[in-house]
């Protein structure tokens, strides 16, 4: 990569971190949402005998 290694690898790594980070945060949000929805469904089932 010559003298430009820092810039080229830097941009690619940054892209990976940004997009990968977006995915990670999003999947964590999804997991949280699904568990809350599951809990709500549980509660509703118990409330309606």
């Amino acid at each position: 990569m010559g003298d430009y290694a820092f810039y080229v690898w830097g941009s690619y790594v940054l892209t990976l971190i940004a997009l990968g980070g977006e995915v990670v945060v999003l999947l964590r949000r999804r997991r949280a949402d699904r568990s809350t929805t599951a809990e709500d469904a549980e509660v509703r089932k118990q409330v309606q005998p």
């Binding site: 010559g2 810039y7 949000r29």
Partner: protein, 243 residues
């Protein structure tokens, strides 16, 4: 010929939309991963070094797709927001909100990778030329939209207020771009001219197109995941956005 036509209106219901989105996601996530791998490999190792810029030009393979996605997603966002406002369609407004964060991230990436490209090639971390300045302003437009929606608690008001802002923004984008172009050419002496886009040889064009396609697939997948999260979160008291 019965019932084979798709009744799109049924996907206005969040329940159906949730299901449809869930079915679509793998069809975009898998190609995205594949295209990213191929594109990165070709861009980093196979494409030949540039005559003038050496290996530094390889930043282009992430910078250009990011810039394109930033712009395209903003227009899409405005479109969905306007539809959601005009037809009172919650699902459409949720699409707009889902698009906003991904678009902002791509725009930010475009700016940072642009800097990393500019430093070795133009000698400066930042150059106030028409394109970089317009991209910066686009990021501000995204920030405005996201801030407005997160500040308003009532989801319907947030949807509609966002729609007004997005429509006003998208209408202003040509005006802003024109004025920044004007400003840039007036002060041209102080700025460094970017080398004009030369026609690219196929070995460079291919990775670029693959990376653009990869970003498209990625965006669709990520936006659909976020959309499903928003659907699940409907009706819950709103807190600070997570992502």
């Amino acid at each position: 010929m019965t019932g084979r036509t798709i009744h799109w209106y049924k996907y206005a219901s969040p329940g159906n939309l949730y299901r449809l989105a869930g079915q679509l996601i793998p069809w975009f996530a898998a190609p995205a991963a594949l295209l990213f791998t191929i594109g990165l490999y070709l861009g980093l190792f196979v494409a030949p070094a540039d005559f003038q810029q050496g290996d530094a030009y390889r930043v282009l393979f992430v910078h250009v797709p990011a810039a394109w996605m930033g712009m395209l997603l903003y227009v899409l966002l405005a479109f969905y927001a306007a539809i959601g406002w005009a037809f009172n369609a919650r699902a459409s407004s949720m699409m707009a909100s889902s698009l906003s964060i991904t678009g902002a991230i791509f725009t930010f990436l475009a700016l940072v990778t642009g800097s990393l490209w500019g430093r070795p090639t133009w000698g400066a971390w930042w150059v106030w030329d028409a394109r970089t300045t317009s991209t910066l302003i686009l990021l501000f437009l995204y920030i405005g939209f996201i801030s407005l929606q997160s500040a308003i608690d009532d989801p319907r008001r947030a949807d509609r207020a966002g729609a007004v802002l997005a429509v006003v923004g998208v209408v202003n984008v040509p005006i802003i771009y024109f004025s920044v172009q004007w400003w840039s050419t007036l002060h041209q002496g102080a700025t460094i001219r970017i080398a004009g886009e030369t026609t690219m040889p196929g070995s460079m064009l291919a990775p670029l197109l693959i990376m653009i396609a990869a970003c498209w697939m990625y965006s669709i997948a990520v936006v659909l995941v976020r959309l499903r999260c928003l659907i699940l979160e409907t009706g819950r008291p709103r807190s600070a956005p997570t992502s």
